[in-house]
Symmetry: C2
Subunit: 310 residues, 2 copies
Amino acid sequence: MGPDELVRISHVARRHYVDGLTKIEIADELGVSRFKIARMLEDALEKGLVKITIEAPDSLDLDLSMRLRARFGLTRALAVITPGTTPDLIQDRLGRAAADLLSEIVTDGDVLGLTAGRTLTAMAGHLRTLATCEVVQLAGVAAPTPENGVEVIRQVSRISGGRSRAIFAPLLVESPATASALRREPGILETFRRFDSVTKAVVAIGSWSPPDSQLYDNAGRAGMLDELLAAGVKAEICATLVNESGAVVGSVAERSLAVSTEQLRRIPEVIAVAGGPSKTGAVAAALQSGIVDSLVTDAALARRLLETSA
Amino acid sequence: MGPDELVRISHVARRHYVDGLTKIEIADELGVSRFKIARMLEDALEKGLVKITIEAPDSLDLDLSMRLRARFGLTRALAVITPGTTPDLIQDRLGRAAADLLSEIVTDGDVLGLTAGRTLTAMAGHLRTLATCEVVQLAGVAAPTPENGVEVIRQVSRISGGRSRAIFAPLLVESPATASALRREPGILETFRRFDSVTKAVVAIGSWSPPDSQLYDNAGRAGMLDELLAAGVKAEICATLVNESGAVVGSVAERSLAVSTEQLRRIPEVIAVAGGPSKTGAVAAALQSGIVDSLVTDAALARRLLETSA
DNA sequence: CAAGGAGCCGCTCATATGAGCGCGAGCGCG
DNA sequence: CGCGCTCGCGCTCATATGAGCGGCTCCTTG
């Protein structure tokens, strides 16, 4: 293309794309037909004279995110790009993304349900602002570590400024009777009554094969593992266990202190946060279950999900 | 902006700007109203999420070029960016730009008129392709150097493949009688007859104050300088002399071998090529004269022209 | 020279789009 | 509680735009 046409076309492109003039206005200005202007702009695009770029944040793979959303019918999906594959790193980045997502979507009237886990602990650590909302713990304490649910609830509700409903009791207990008794404890009863009011929940996904789950560990200690693995448990969402196809199988309901599967399903938006190589199958199973509405995961896992189900 | 909205908006922006979908198509695809899509795209632009850039060649200032064109009512204008201000460098770059311009706009039927000068010599040196056209020398030889008009004509016509009409005679001679006699010489007569057929001409602009012109030097040797300077000559185009206001003053017509002012005016497109600090006033005067239809100059000179006449 | 084809132009008419408006939800305040 | 405010939404209607067409010129080719 010669320099004269270059000057003309660039000028037209600038008037249109930068100054926002319509093609008709440019045509009048230059005394040519609007069709001429349209063709000049087509040329400019085609010859690479006008470059349109979509600025993406380094940390998100926008394309994968949208494909996840579309493929699994999710309300939202975030495929987080991680600069490495160590569990710590992935959890930190997923936590950050989940924190940003919470800041974005939680509004003043919301009742926020949370579970525990290392990724959710990371999320709490990255959370900076949150609308005023009630924060409800959805399951008892699975691990006697700083990563337990009570700690997450405490941090998040402090940032939100809303009131918190914790569960000061284990996730899994020895007998159904103990579980029933605990559920009648005033503080715990209060929290359980809020489950039906929860509008948004952030939950971890535990993997049972390969094992990467605190509930799995607890079940092992409680001697329930063989029975549940025989039932084909692949993943857990709170205390709900699902197999590879997403069907709810086995049950720890009687001996656990947690939101029920039905209550979980009634929550308008359940956001699962999970990533890392070991969780691929569990995330796939959780998505199949229909319990999960939104997903925050790492880009590598997202890619594996889309490949296997293409 | 939160990550979820980021993903949505980026996706919409890509579908629209990259994939070329209409807003209505995207709206249908996502199940939202077209107004929503329009507002998302407005947001994307406003938040800097979509960047539209006009790629400009390093060597041309597109904005200055368009402003020159508009300000002086030119058919074409090129403001060439030079990486320095030495005369040699400026001439080289202007020559290159003029060569590119010629390659672009000369078509097979054209009759191309040329004068001489260092910049036009540079132009000839940079010329790589040219449509088949007749090449006509518009003025006699002003300097006994490799930069004379005959040499330029020879080079250009060789690249074009068309026939050439040179003037093997001086630009300025001692007496009107000698000039008349030369004009009757068969070869020269032939060239002069082609002047009325010239469709495009590339001419240099000579400056008389400060002096930067081969014709000025010749006039000095011929003892005509005082008279012409007294007449207020500021610039020369071929052998036509104009004052600061662009009015034709003085005359070397009787003693020169060159296209006449009237013939020059009748040429459909006269392209002046001139630049450098010393030529500012001369270029301004030449533009005033109405003889010049298009201009190739350096960006610095263009800027000075626009400043003084703003 | 006639026929045919390529390239450029501007038209028609259906479609896409933008400006501006009114509605209804959520929110703060007396 | 009732009021007004703001905001996000989608509507109407005038305008901008694109697809496709036919006319024109120029050039090639038989």
